[in-house]
């Protein structure tokens, strides 16, 4: 009777000795993370226009940038100047748009909007403050001279870049 008890106690002691801990390691390093928060949708407020503005029935594409180190990156966001897919178009399309910093994790990031540089269809932001910022991109397309867009699906690409300095 005593022998099995001793054996059981010894086995339990061994099981206890094998209990282990697991560590979780992580590193926070300088990086820029581009997150597609919201894919846009074109609204069709009138026959000849497509627009991502909510007032035109569209959805504004939103891109979030997470910046770990200040002054390490420049953000470049380009609104489209052509459709990536569309029905066959026989007339010219006029493109307009822009990019603005909307929500931000730090109020000093409002400087991104005042110091932004715009050229062609690209807006450049100096990411001088660390944190998270949501950039809202508007895109509008007008077809010919008050010509109605043919029925079908339209897609366009917004390019979000993060360039190390």
């Amino acid at each position: 009777m005593k022998q099995p008890l001793i054996l059981l106690t010894a086995l339990m002691a061994c099981a206890g000795a094998y209990a282990n801990t697991t560590s979780i390691n992580g590193t926070v390093e300088s990086k820029c993370i581009i997150t597609t928060d919201t894919n846009g949708v074109y609204g069709n407020p009138s026959g000849e226009a497509l627009s991502t503005k909510p007032t035109d029935g569209g959805v504004t594409p939103i891109v979030r940038y997470d910046i770990v180190t200040a002054d390490a990156y420049v953000a470049k966001i380009t609104y489209p100047d052509s459709f990536s897919s569309s029905p066959s178009l026989t007339d010219t399309v006029t493109w307009t748009g822009g990019t603005e910093a909307g929500q931000m994790s730090d109020s000093t990031m409002s400087a991104f909007n005042t110091s932004k540089v715009e050229y062609n269809n690209t807006t450049e932001f100096d990411l001088s403050v660390a944190g998270s910022v949501w950039f809202e991109v508007t895109s509008e397309a007008e077809y010919g001279y008050e010509k109605a867009f043919p029925a079908g699906n339209y897609s366009a690409v917004v390019t979000a870049e993060c360039i190390a300095q």
């Binding site: 997150t35 928060d37 730090d106 660390a130 190390a164």
Partner: protein, 124 residues
């Protein structure tokens, strides 16, 4: 507060991001004479993207020849990918940026798609 947001973003809790690190990679001599190398890390948490292209540019955004296996990376959702980039010693001075760019398949039919490109600057 800012740190918490960054940590949440870095650790997880979102599903649509593109990461490309390090910010300033350092080129070092490789085991092949005349070639310099560095390791880049790609993390794909963009569900709609499965491929990323890698390119090397000079400071004027002209393409610099390089080798990577492969230069078109298939990265599944939430996967990590490590790429060894090789640049010739003769091109090392003008090589400035190592970039990864999301490739959008023609089957993706979102009305407004976002292409992401992140460029690291080579440490000189």
């Amino acid at each position: 507060m800012r740190l918490i947001i960054i940590l949440l973003a870095t650790i997880g809790g979102y599903v649509n991001a593109h990461q490309w690190t390090p910010t300033h990679p350092e080129m070092r001599p490789s085991h092949i004479q005349g070639l310099y190398t560095t390791e880049m890390h790609l993390f794909n948490s963009r569900k709609e993207i499965s491929y990323y292209s890698i390119r090397v540019f000079d400071k004027d955004w002209d393409v610099v020849p390089f080798a990577a296996a492969p230069s078109l990376v298939r990265a599944n959702y939430l996967s990590h990918h490590y790429s060894d980039i090789y640049i010739k010693k003769s091109d090392l001075k003008r090589a400035h940026y190592i970039c990864s760019k999301s490739k959008i398949l023609s089957t993706v039919k979102d009305p407004s798609i976002i292409a992401s490109r992140i460029c690291s600057k080579i440490k000189k």
